[in-house]
Symmetry: D2
Subunit: 422 residues, 4 copies
């Protein structure tokens, strides 16, 4: 695409694939709102007081329908927003169009080049002569990988602002990472390959929250799942669920589907891929494309790439003339090949985001937060959950006063100690 | 589309959406071949002797990638083939294009009007001056609904030719209907609506093989499933799986997702739909659109239809201004909203088809088959299964001679009496 | 025990372990009645007319609490009953005591010798000078193995009376065999060995209805299940559930638990057992002790048997000094080590029995039944199911007249053709 | 029992039900050792150096077979041990007999009165003139309830010694509480009532680790599970698994099985019990009998208690003449009605215990530990897990040096931050 900023009639900047998809995006946005009760509750609770009045928020996060509901929650609370996607494949173009037309400055499209990606990111941060953003969505960070980087910066003294670790809210990591992936992994596999999962041997590398969700989905769909792990505790958890723990080398020639969920690099190397069965599917549900050795694959002498359709490539090795199917070029396959996590679970994650942004903004001048990484207090985490119960018809039990005293827990919570694992 | 027959360079007739999608179709066909070991084994076993030499086969069956592999198996065995789709929404245009270009006369595209549908069907049966087809795929019938009609014709004496009931092969009804739907129901739901299934209340109308597959899929994805049934035996099966049995009236206002699987009519009426929650999803995985009262919905005074995207409509009732989401206009949602059953399970069904067609053709002049409905003998059913085990790495046990005598079962099968239920 | 018949105060013959357990048996009988709605419905429907008035019924069937409710249903309908157990380990002594004291002539105790077993069987058939029984429970036969024998007798012309194959009622084979075993297999394993099933590798030999129930139970408890099969269709079913199909030889040294469900002989031989891991558990949920090579084990040179507790033996091989745990001496472990199938599912099976016995008795002089094997008609099978729905809170849907006509199925059933597989 | 201490030939004190059961206990102990690789690894690693030489250890913990292996691990490491049970119903008498005869001073039997219970506890703490114990097993506390008390004592300054919170080791709370209960809840239900779980409605009060295990077990056995919760996060977790969240009042008249897992009091009151269905089963898998209102039940005017068998009582209300089944008098049903958690998962818990005791003993004079509650460091938690992988055939993956640096995690762990939730 030509890298030039466009403007709406009202003068707001944007760059998206096709603004005419805005109506379609709006329709899906309206469906998503019904599925995102936490965000809608934020609009109802905080909208009237406009707490973000005057705040400039820049966000770099997959520009999907769900993110669009987040953005419009921020604007409904008074913020001015600029946005880009944090991944070259994760934008849904109709979502971007709807936001660009109606709500915020968006610079994102599906299938950016790296050059385009960085141009979009710059646009997102560039608030013109008046300086940069007041808040950065992503400093209320919500990925395991991103949080790790923030803590490293904190330790090395290079963290330049207070940050809230939203990833470690229970209502984020134990829901989005687990149940989100349980939903979106098979979705991505089906849309990309139409392959029957039942009867297949599937290898999941890593058994953290994401790996647990992926393994559960594959098992339930009728695959025989094998997990690779470095951590003996997670390994023992998998075993208790009837899942075999082996090394990748043990199974590389026998499995039909490989999924990486580790957040580490060099998990599936080209040397593994060479030994796989014909048409074995290789994909990564984590963020970075070095989890699968894409570089090794692309530079393998004589290898041939056949694009079945966007984000679904067959790579054929010259020695055997057999091939493997790589999804989304080794990047996060659930957003590259499908539409990512569904609205309901993202509502949990994004409600944490809104609450974190509100807190950072409210306390921006009070010194309450130093240049450190914080987690949200338990009672807010519980509140996020509570906002999502009504939609599912749940009826909570109330502690009596006597019970509350007996177990020394306040009637209105928080109900668990900080270290509780859920 | 203009209803005029087109011709390939070699003079073969066709009418498809876009012949230029043939390359894309061919790539997916090649992937599917690896997943369809039964059909490929037929090519290897029967191809050399060309048993269909001289046979004209007309087929009316969803024109998908999997059907394309079936068609090319028939042509690989010597047949000349003409094809149409049996449903207005079920064609995959790239599959049709590849077949039209390379293998057979195809008349099919996604989104036919009824007029177009019948024009295509006529073209499929029209072999020119030389008369009609020798064989009809579909007379080796493979749906529960279709088989019922054949038996009715047999009883009333209106069946004009011998027919083989492929649907009641175990390797068809207990695999395609059950495991196929377990795969394709959530696939259709996800592609059409991106809705999170976990946490939702889902109602499955009917607990036959298709209903069992749908209920299993929804349960595994984290929904709370409720089944409606008329048959006390099927109802008791659902209960043993922890699934509640209620009537539609009991739950119509509480559920989030409704799926019909009955093969009957008038299951979900417009009066039910009016009482549903906002954005409840209503869909049918069976063949005909009278399972859901589409007519009642379309003619409801003041109702408003908002097409989110093709095959995903929101219908808004005037009294409440709330709406429901109807998939694929009430027709089979797995083919309308997704790509239908995956290749591997269709390979089981279609290998039955090929074997049935071979048998009908071989015996066409011998009088072995009267104008009745037949099922394939058990040993062929077992053979179909056996052809699919290697792909999944299975190793069967062999009976010893002593064991064979002890239980009076031949070492090479058939292993079960005809009435065995699996 | 001294093999002498005893008599109650009222003069009825019996021989049980300990008549003083009758009160305990009665209490458990009363609990079971609440769980057996089918049998209780038979008492309510048929009791008043005393259809078995004058009928002498001999029964040979595991003398459990559930069978006791069956016996008292027969007597409530007017029959005179004599009973023995069909297995040396399957009697529950308190059940036998209650029946002996209150209702019928019982000859059965847990742990009979073979000599005692046959003495009991003779007593059961010996109605004194007046001749033999009018009806034999078991001629309405309810095991896969037993039914096979009846058909063999029919074919060879050696069947001396009409018999009803109750086993192939859907409400028997698809419930008792499947869900009964799903319940009682882990129950037997736990009571006998207290072993943790989660994390273990379990081999199930055979994937018929019993094998399906066993495999499901083990999988759900967290074991990794491997199935051995001779039948490619059943094998493919297992694969679709994510279960690996291998031969016993492939896994004999790796697995922790072995269960036979085949009804065949020579499944696990002593040569297999020698190669197993230390303390591997070996058991049979089928009827006969030749499914596991008990003879080969007992006569293995130098083998040592250590009885942990009744029906739980550790057999130590001299070469390795490692041992295996054999349950119930290779006989049906769910009745030998636990209490067999629970009341609710047995109510389905036994209601079929009562209906079959009623039919045989009613038609004894009409010639309706020849010396052949019959199955119950579909509408009675559906009736059995219907009698069990209320207890579980189910609400069936009723066909409308229009629907009934559309699918050509009577409003009140039968709802399925005879060959339907459920 | 007469409350007098007895002595073995070697002069060691004890009081058990029946010393002649020692052989039986020893056989089961030997089976358990094979299932407890963590404890056996401790014997191998630490036994030679006799680290507990001179240590007097008193333990109050369910005197089961598994605990017996723990006790003999402590003695194998050099300790002198005295033991009692922490619950009146939880002793396995053959385990107590084997330990009493062979290894340690035991004062415990199944079915103690409260008076007997306290006598046993005193004997356990009474080391004669030389004073009390050096270590108390239970100060390396391993229940959620107990740990809460320790923290309360720490806060109020009444904690008299350093304590280690073993409960919050991941290899305890996420294994014993979760997978242990998943195993032992159905075991207890089956042994106590033989009830069919499939098809029933089961209410689980509380969805912590224990509740999660119970709900999973009931669901897998085919029950329809409903959970009651006070905590919105745990409630949302249940919903994501397809489990309905209601209050006890909503379902009290409809459910068949009730299980309390809360650790709180007054969960199921007599007023609830009065409204339950006939023969509803009421049980508690938590420690204290005030979770179910046993006092209210026992003092209910006109209520009648019918003991079916020990630990299984039917309570009949006078108004309705219907009854409920209460297990283990409202105390922990898995130990009262069955044999508690299986050896393998207890090996995880008890290996934590041994490591904690070793640490407390080693550091007793160094001042490393103040009068506070500590948790074991992550690397020991991971070690416990690692000791249990070999038994299950698992093969761990090793981080490369490059990977270790990339994610800043040592090659040999610990692999997770302290707050990680697993």
């Amino acid at each position: 695409m030509a890298l030039s900023v466009e403007k709406t009639a009202s003068g707001r900047e944007y760059k998206v694939k096709d603004l005419s998809q805005a109506d379609f995006g709006r329709l899906e946005l309206e469906l998503a709102e019904v599925e995102m009760p936490g965000l809608m509750a934020c609009r109802a609770e905080f909208g009237p007081s406009q707490p973000f009045k005057g705040a400039r928020i820049s966000g770099s996060l997959h520009m999907t329908i769900q993110t669009a509901v987040l953005i419009e929650t921020l604007t409904a609370l008074g913020a001015e927003v600029r946005w880009c996607s944090c991944n070259i494949f994760s934008t849904q173009d109709h979502a971007a169009a709807a936001i660009a037309r109606d709500s915020a400055a968006v610079f994102a499209w599906k299938g950016e080049t790296l050059e385009e990606y960085w141009w979009c990111t710059e646009r997102c941060l560039d608030w013109g002569a008046g300086g940069g953003p007041d808040l950065i969505v992503g400093v209320s960070e919500e990925t395991t990988t991103g949080v790790k980087r923030l803590y490293q910066m904190q330790e090395s003294g290079t963290l330049l602002f207070p940050a809230i670790n939203v990833n470690d809210s229970v209502t984020k990591s134990k829901f989005d990472n687990l149940y989100g992936c349980r939903h979106s992994l098979p979705d991505g596999l089906m849309r990309a390959t139409d392959v029957m999962i039942a009867g297949k041997v599937a290898v999941v590398c890593g058994y953290g929250d994401v790996g647990k969700g992926c393994a559960a989905a594959l098992k339930q769909a009728g695959a025989r799942v094998i997990v690779t792990e470095i951590d003996p505790i997670c390994a023992l958890q998998a075993l208790m669920e009837g899942i075999q723990i082996l090394t990748l080398e043990d199974v590389v020639s026998d499995a039909d589907i490989f999924v990486t969920t580790t957040g580490n690099k060099d998990i599936i190397m080209v040397d593994h891929m060479r030994k796989m069965k014909n048409n074995a599917i290789v994909c990564n549900i984590g963020h970075f494309d070095n989890e699968i050795d894409m570089n090794g694959l692309e530079t393998y002498p004589g290898v041939k790439r056949i694009t079945i359709k966007p984000q679904t490539d067959r790579w054929v090795f010259p020695e055997t003339n057999t091939g493997i199917i790589v999804l989304a070029e080794g990047r996060l396959m659930n957003l590259g090949c499908a539409t990512g996590h569904p609205s309901f679970v993202m509502s949990c994650s994004f409600t944490n985001q809104v609450i974190a942004q509100l807190e950072l903004w409210k306390e921006k001048a009070t010194g309450k937060y130093e240049k450190k990484v914080y987690v949200l207090p338990k009672h807010l985490d519980e509140k996020v959950a509570a906002l999502h119960l009504g939609k599912l018809g749940a009826r909570l039990t109330k502690l009596t006063k006597a019970q509350s005293e007996y177990i020394s827990i306040p009637v209105d919570g928080p109900y668990k100690p900080a270290a509780y694992r859920y």
